[in-house]
């Protein structure tokens, strides 16, 4: 299923063989040595927006419909993920979060990609991946502490094998390549799943990451959520590539594009990518075509660069409704489970609201910890100064 380097070599040796001319003449086709790297000409889709199965034609590789139980698990996590996301946006309005980049509309990517990997694999998220991190099982409050502003990263990246959410665009992809190579050297079959947006594929680090991962045959999956905009800038101003998935071939990276609002297709493509990586064939690039329904963040005004008609059109391609229809049609989901899951999501949301509704404590003295393993004399000096300031403040407060 997955073409390998030896495939290529076999074809190369065919080319060099004396019978080659005959082959060329009879078939009149130039063997395309890089074809196995190319994405399918159209995004892979298994379920159309109405929840109907789509016959598989013309894809580069065979993609299999995931079993209903798995789709139901993804559906459940998407329902919960969306509720989490809506709650996080609400928390910005209540002043509990400094800012929140929503991924509403991108649930199939956030959830589908995340549930495809295991706890032994690495995840390298961006600021947009809060939903993915909640799906990964990280406490939502820990996920949001970056955006709440009490610490840079609320969770333990090593315990969760999940890097801190990354803001400098694309920089985390190189870390993923390095971690994937490290895992390979340690003899595991663990992969690194790195998220990135469409706009960030223009950054140099995206290209360096693909190249490094390819050269070192590192088991990294680069998962591009093409949500059509980088803040306000549409993809057309970002690239002339026929699709972002075509950026893999130049680096020798196998690539695919997928309907990023089709959870079944996301799972199927992730499975192929994972098999490719775990079998030692190097990295894999996935472009998922999706759309963010909300503005870039709560602080952004999306009406300045896109029409409400455009948003409405994407509402009809809802990933949750699509898979829900299919599951119901296949007797894998009933109304009881639907209401139970929505109740579960409400519980998570209200629990999150309650736990975020306290003033977080950030200890000023912690500023001097973790700059280095041991504080330098200069940090000790500054620490003494701040300690004295705090003591003086406390004394003033006592007197008043």
């Amino acid at each position: 299923m997955t073409p390998t380097v030896s495939h290529t070599c076999a074809r190369l040796s065919q080319l060099a063989s004396p019978s080659d001319n005959v082959v060329m003449q009879t078939t009149a086709v130039t063997p395309d040595l890089a074809a196995h790297l190319l994405p399918s000409p159209n995004p892979v889709q298994l379920l159309d927006p109405t929840g109907t199965e789509v016959p598989q034609e013309g894809t580069r590789r065979p993609y299999l419909m995931p079993p209903p139980e798995r789709l139901r698990e993804v559906w459940r996590a998407m329902v919960i993920g969306r509720r989490f996301d809506i709650q996080a946006t609400a928390l910005t309005k209540q002043g509990r979060l400094a800012v929140y980049p929503s991924s509403r509309g991108q649930e199939a990517c956030q959830v589908g990609a995340t549930l495809s990997v295991t706890g032994n694999d690495w995840v390298f998220p961006t600021y947009r991946e809060s939903m993915a991190l909640v799906t990964r099982g990280i406490d939502p409050v820990e996920v949001l502490s970056l955006l709440r502003g009490d610490q840079h990263c609320g969770y333990d990246p090593k315990a969760h094998k999940t890097a801190p959410q990354c803001t400098p665009l694309s920089t985390q992809l190189i870390h993923a390549a390095g971690a994937a190579y490290g895992e390979k050297r340690r003899g595991t079959d663990n992969v690194a799943l790195a998220f990135i947006g469409d706009g960030a594929t223009s950054e140099g680090d995206f290209h360096e990451a693909l190249n490094f991962a390819a050269v070192f045959e590192a088991p990294a999956i680069f998962f591009v959520q093409n949500n059509k905009y980088a803040i306000s800038v549409p993809l057309s101003k970002q690239t002339k590539a026929p699709a972002l998935a075509y950026k893999g071939i130049g680096y020798g990276v196998a690539s695919e594009q997928v309907d990023g609002n089709d959870p079944a297709a996301v799972l199927a493509v992730m499975d192929v990518a994972l098999e490719h990586c775990r079998a030692g064939h190097g990295p894999f690039l996935i472009e998922a075509h999706t759309y963010r329904l909300d503005a870039h963040t709560n602080a952004d005004d999306a009406s300045r660069y896109r029409s409400s008609d455009e948003v409405t059109a994407w509402l009809e391609r809802d990933p949750i409704a699509r898979v829900e229809t299919w599951l119901k049609a296949h007797g894998a989901l009933n109304d009881d489970l639907v209401s139970a899951t929505h109740a579960e999501a409400e519980t998570l949301a209200s629990d999150l609201r309650d736990r975020m509704n306290v003033d977080p404590q950030a200890d000023p003295m912690s500023l001097f910890d973790n700059v280095f393993e041991q504080r330098t004399p200069q940090l000790e000096d500054a620490r003494r100064m701040v300690a004295a300031e705090l003591a003086a403040d406390a004394e003033m407060e006592d007197q008043s």
Partner: protein
């Protein structure tokens, strides 16, 4: 044994690779070739491609890749081919390498070393002679180390590799071929300790890296004028050894900071400020700086004019208000004292 700095660095890498299975060396041309300065000479041959290897030409890639490998327990020692060619890695270094321990509340540390051949004095064409230590020293979370002799080169590099935090290891390329009598392995003073290279009682030259031999020559020449000049070699810019510097200047009462880097907003200005803050009442003259000029690093034929040399240092010493004559040439805003 007479050992060049390059040999000492090579030996430090060799011994670190031998001592710890997780130490890896990679970068541009560091494998088969042994690096353009031959600092990694023979490592691939002795330890194999698994331990010392070439990477694609991409400095952000090299540093970011090293960071990722740290997450899986490795201790990468990466080489930037030249000072100015480390700039593509600047974002990785300042936004990630320097901050990882802090932004993860101490959960993730990065025991990596970024080796950078730096500064001029070798007749290099443009982009091969930058004194870039100030950029790194300005960044919280980075240790910035620069040896000036073979013993320190060995000892500080071993310490850098063993350090749990990221170290920017700046190698003065003009000193790669300088020799010192030393038995390797050796252990010198740890990070954060400056060294008094020459004791003196009349004035202190504070310097580091490529400027240390020049400062020593100037101190030697100053004896002819009757000045007994002390030379302090910082060895590590960060962490900074206030104690040794302050003790020296309080004793001598006069201070000149010598750096090859341009003076404006640089390490030399930082040293001058720290000395003034701490030694004001002991000072008989303002702290002066002799530094690289406020120009881009010049073409090789103009290098001698640019670099702080013995004469310029002696001029600065002469201007340390040894008598009551007012110094009308004093121009503090321009770093360079000439």
């Amino acid at each position: 044994m007479s050992v060049t700095m390059s040999k000492a660095l090579n030996q430090a890498l060799r011994d670190s690779i031998r001592a710890d299975d997780d130490v890896l060396v990679f970068g541009e041309d560091v494998g088969t070739l042994g690096g353009v300065f031959r600092i990694t000479d023979g490592l691939t041959q002795e330890f194999g491609e698994q331990r010392c290897f070439d990477t694609p030409l991409a400095e952000a890639g090299i540093v970011g890749f090293a960071l990722g490998m740290c997450l899986t327990g490795y201790k990468p020692v990466v080489e930037m081919q030249f000072d100015a060619f480390a700039y593509p890695a600047f974002e990785q270094i300042t936004s990630h390498v320097a901050k990882m321990r802090n932004r993860t509340g101490g959960k993730v540390n990065l025991p990596m070393v970024i080796r950078i051949p730096y500064a001029g004095g070798i007749g290099g064409v443009e982009h091969h002679c930058d004194s870039s230590e100030g950029y790194y020293a300005h960044t919280a979370g980075l240790k910035v180390v620069t040896p000036s002799n073979s013993a320190d080169a060995y000892s500080l590099l071993r310490e850098a590799i063993a350090d749990p935090d990221p170290v920017i290891f700046m190698e003065p390329k003009a000193l790669y071929w300088s020799k010192q009598e030393v038995e390797l392995p050796c252990k010198q003073e740890p990070f954060g300790k400056a060294a008094i290279r020459r004791p003196g009682k009349d004035a202190t030259l504070v310097t580091y890296g490529p400027s240390v031999p020049t400062a020593l020559k100037a101190a030697e020449a100053a004896t002819e004028e009757g000045w007994d000049v002390e030379v302090v070699d910082l060895r590590t810019i960060s962490p900074f050894d206030d104690e040794t510097v302050v003790e020296s200047v309080r004793r001598t009462g006069r201070c000149v900071v010598v750096s090859e880097a341009q003076g404006f907003a640089g390490v030399s200005g930082e040293v001058a400020a720290r000395v003034t803050e701490r030694c004001f009442h002991s000072l008989s003259a303002p702290v002066l700086r002799v530094s690289g000029l406020e120009t881009p690093y010049p073409a090789p034929m103009l290098e001698r004019t640019y670099l702080p040399g013995v004469d310029r240092i002696l001029d600065a010493i002469a201007r340390l208000q040894w008598d009551d004559t007012p110094d009308l040439t004093f121009a503090p805003s321009h770093g360079g004292a000439a």
